[in-house]
Point group: C2
């Protein structure tokens, strides 16, 4: 199918373009995130990829995730002091943290909302990023996550 091949290409290009190697570990970690987009923690990614590469180490998973985030292929999200979660959705979006289930949902942002929100900043404040986090109860799971 197109999606996975396409994103694989993007991955390879981005890594090459930065002088980084497209190792099996990096590819697998990325694939895993793309395949199950439920904002897993590093430990969860580790558990998922072990079946494909049983020798992979947790340190490598952390290394790969860090690389993917640094190359802009993946976003990291934090809720309070919980473990960092990883998200392959590159569209501008907010996060909804369901306090009952612990699950995290992507919320698409209407065009222009981030700019509108930046509007509340007093003069002199230059925001390079805006993050919006909702907490509460989500209704029907309807899909993965």
């Amino acid at each position: 199918m197109a999606t996975s091949d396409n994103s694989r290409q993007v991955l390879l290009e981005r890594l090459q373009g930065s002088g980084l190697r497209p190792t099996p570990q990096r590819e697998l970690v990325f694939q895993s995130l793309m395949a199950q987009r439920d904002h897993p923690t590093a430990e969860e990614v580790f558990a998922r990829v072990k079946s494909q590469i049983p020798s992979i180490s947790l340190a490598t998973v952390y290394n790969c995730l860090e690389t993917l985030v640094a190359r802009g292929l993946v976003r990291s999200v934090n809720f309070e002091r919980g473990p960092t979660r990883y998200c392959p959705n590159l569209h501008p979006h907010a996060h909804f943290h369901d306090e009952e289930t612990g699950s995290t949902h992507d919320i698409d942002l209407p065009d222009g909302l981030l700019d509108q929100v930046k509007t509340i900043l007093p003069p002199g404040y230059d925001a390079s990023s805006v993050e919006i986090i909702f907490r509460g109860k989500a209704a029907q799971p309807a899909g993965d996550n």
Copy 2:
């Protein structure tokens, strides 16, 4: 002056009202947050209050902060995986994290903005809180923080 006496009263009332004791440690931790509203970490609060009560322990500072947050007298804020910071500003506000200085600034929210932002949630999502975090470079320090 009115402010400190007033907030001290609020503190005492809230603690009493929950069957909690207004201990010197709790009062001091709260005072310290009110006096220097720069979003200190627990360690920073610890360092600040030690001069008044040299025997206070870090565990107690954590305990007091947790109590204050639980009673709604103080908010906790997190940036990525950094240490939790504490904020006595109870008005609805966003946070601006200055990436150069590491300082944190409160950004007042225009009335109705949070409700407006909640508007982007699909049906079935019920948000109990919305958090907005800016990251970037702030201009003039102009005051404390």
